[in-house]
């Protein structure tokens, strides 16, 4: 053997909110753990990113348990009320199908949180907890050796990690390198994501309209006069709306949301993402675990991706932290099997649900329009429905990762 190569317990590839929260959770739960994180973009450079996510209660509890929520509360806009309509585009009157005000405990339904401050808060906390940042740098290739995964970086550096965590996004290079296949569903639809400014205040109210083209959500942002849109359309229409003149976009927008917000003006970039689902066939391989979009990518239904990603990070961090505390090899097959079993169930449920939705959407029968309201995004944001689903499907108590219920690992 040649000169000794540096070893770490866990190397996380990808410094988005999922990778950062996994790194932070492990380092903060296990003093002395050697955790490194590589990303081509340092977390300090993300602060201007205003894309907003709906953080559900579970996500907020996790951020609290990680000690970053108090610093983020000023950036977060509480969603205090949500109205849901099921209607056709030209219906003159949209019957309000469901109205949800605050939950019984008085906590908001969700919080709208911009990506920049979220990443900054997680990055700063991870650095304080002792995570070693290898930025800007990215994983070039990895190679399985009997006692660890040898990781080569674009900078030329090499380290050996007991466990490599792929948090490198929907087109995960590490997932492809490990030969993990994916199943994909696509609907020929795209989700348009944009931010709008409006004359009248939103008063913390979220709107979700179930239009024939798919769900259309208006989510309140900080300050009262800005909202985030998630707008599904057939892909060719979506592309034209995004590429076209702002006034056309705004006119189409008003056709869908009405006039109650007053004049609306689109600010910043309009983007369209193909709507679909990509699921990794496995979440683990030799000394490798997939989390976040690398494991399951959904675009761009606000909230779902983030909340699922947080759950992955929480479950993996718990399994790895308990192994490290016991002196076990965090990349050993039996440790990774625990993560696979834990998250695999959720993913299967989601796959079944999404496949079912695919069929629902290709059908225009009236009663189905009611059923499909249970789908995209809604389930995680409306606690009573969520509870019904959760109670029916999850069963055993204690199945949730500790961080997700707001407890430290």
């Amino acid at each position: 053997m040649t000169e000794p190569v540096e070893r770490v317990d866990v190397l996380i590839a990808g410094g988005g909110y999922v990778g950062l929260s996994a790194a932070l959770a492990i380092a903060a739960s296990v003093p002395g753990a050697r955790v490194a994180l590589a990303d081509p973009r340092p977390w300090r450079e993300a602060s201007g990113d205003l894309r907003a996510f709906a953080v559900a209660a579970a996500g907020r509890r996790m951020l609290s348990a990680l000690g970053v929520w108090s610093g983020l509360a000023d950036e977060a806009e509480p969603v205090r009320e949500m109205i849901v309509t099921d209607s056709r585009l030209d219906d003159l009157i949209r019957p309000v199908f469901l109205t949800f005000e605050r939950q019984e405990e008085g906590e908001p339904l969700a919080h709208m949180l911009p990506n920049g401050p979220l990443v900054s808060a997680l990055g700063a906390a991870a650095e304080t907890a002792g995570v070693r940042f290898l930025t800007p740098d990215s994983v070039l290739a990895t190679e399985q050796t009997p006692g660890g995964r040898r990781v080569r970086f674009t900078s030329g550096k090499t380290i050996i990690a007991s466990l490599v965590v792929a948090a490198d996004g929907a087109r995960s290079r590490l997932r492809a390198e490990a030969g993990i296949g994916t199943n994909s569903w696509s609907y020929g639809q795209s989700g348009i994501v944009a931010t709008v400014e409006h004359h009248r205040p939103h008063e913390g109210r979220a709107e979700e309209h179930f239009l024939p083209a798919g769900p259309f959500a208006v989510l309140p942002l900080k300050g009262g006069h800005k909202s985030s849109l998630v707008w599904s359309e057939r892909s060719d229409i979506a592309d034209r709306l995004v590429a076209g003149a702002p006034f056309l976009f705004e006119a189409e927008l008003v056709r869908r949301i009405g006039h109650h917000l007053g004049d609306v003006r689109v600010i910043g970039r309009r983007q369209a993402f193909p709507l679909g689902l990509t699921l990794a066939r496995r979440f683990t391989a030799d000394r490798l675990a997939l989390i976040g979009d690398a494991a399951h990518a959904i675009h761009p239904i606000a909230g779902q991706g983030l909340n699922l990603g947080f759950k992955d990070a929480a479950a993996l961090a718990e399994v790895v932290a308990l192994a490290l505390r016991a002196g076990r090899d965090p990349g050993a097959a039996d440790v990774l099997d625990e993560y696979q079993r834990w998250r695999g169930f959720d993913t299967l449920r989601m796959a079944a649900m999404t496949d079912g939705l695919n069929r629902l959407f290709s059908n225009d029968l009236g009663p189905l329009r009611l059923i499909r309201d249970f789908g995209l995004g809604l389930v995680d944001r409306l606690p009573p429905i969520k509870r019904v689903f959760a109670d029916a499907a999850a069963g055993a108590p204690g199945a949730l990762p500790r961080l997700v219920v707001g407890e430290p690992i």
Binding site: V30, P31, G32, P146, G147, A326, G327, R328, A333, D337
Partner: protein, 249 residues
């Protein structure tokens, strides 16, 4: 420390040991029952040693500065975790094959353990003493239990700990460990255990006390079929662990 002297060993031998090391360390392989035991066993050691020596139970390096002797270390399934937690570990086993397997695996994972093919009696005779002495799943395999336990006790420094674990000589243990594990589930090769050599808790504790140790805890380990995992319990009928300390001088 990663430099290994292999010049005098022929490659076929190394390959054979390497294959055996993979077998020892495969969680779904021949030693699956031992691996299944690891989480509860290691969790107990981590908690009790941390409490006794005032260490942070949550830390990855909680055992730094402590010396451990792992008697009957086999392929190193316990020695390596102890070393990973920062302990200075000596792993001993009478089988030179086991020791070679353990050495090879430690070199691969970058963990430093002093593995030796020797006996507890020889280590004692050489005058070495340790903060923590582990005798896990070995008592049921020795010929003279009281004399072996006296040796174990003498290997502990004043203020140090002994952790011993073994199978109880009850009909329940006979049913589960021998008939169940060896014959029904085929987890272990038939003949691995001789029930008559299983040791009752009193038979394990008395020699330790006679050697001047104080008993701190006796804890059972039972199989939880729902989680398909072992867990701690007050029921010591099948497998149990005993914790004893040598008073400070």
């Amino acid at each position: 420390m990663t430099e290994m002297k292999r010049d005098s060993v022929d490659q076929a031998e190394v390959d054979r040991f390497s294959a055996m090391a993979r077998e020892w360390w495969d969680p779904n392989g021949k030693f699956k029952p031992l691996h299944r035991f690891s989480p509860v066993r290691l969790g107990y050691i981590k908690r009790e040693v941390s409490r006794h020596f005032g260490r942070n139970e949550r830390a990855a390096d909680a055992f730094s500065g402590l010396t451990f002797l792992d008697i009957g270390c086999g392929g190193g399934l316990v020695s390596e975790p102890m070393a990973r937690l920062g302990a200075t570990v000596t792993g001993i086993d009478p089988s030179p094959v086991n020791i070679e397997v353990a050495r090879l695996h430690a070199a691969e994972t970058g963990v430093v353990v002093d593995y030796r093919a020797t006996t507890a009696e020889d280590v004692l005779a050489a005058g070495e003493r340790f903060d923590v002495v582990l005798a896990l799943e070995v008592v049921e395999h020795v010929s003279d239990v009281p004399s072996f336990l006296a040796t174990v006790a003498d290997l502990v420094k004043p203020g140090g700990l002994v952790i011993a674990a073994t199978l109880n000589r009850t009909l329940k243990a006979l049913g589960l460990a021998v008939v169940g594990a060896e014959y029904v589930l085929r987890w272990l090769p038939r003949g691995t255990h001789d029930w008559k050599k299983f040791v009752k808790p009193e038979e394990l504790e008395a020699p330790l006390q006679e050697a001047g140790l104080t008993l701190l805890d006796r804890r059972g380990v039972v199989f939880d079929p729902l989680r398909f995992a072992w867990k701690e319990s007050d029921d010591t009928d099948v497998n149990y662990m005993v914790l004893a300390a040598r008073p400070k001088a």
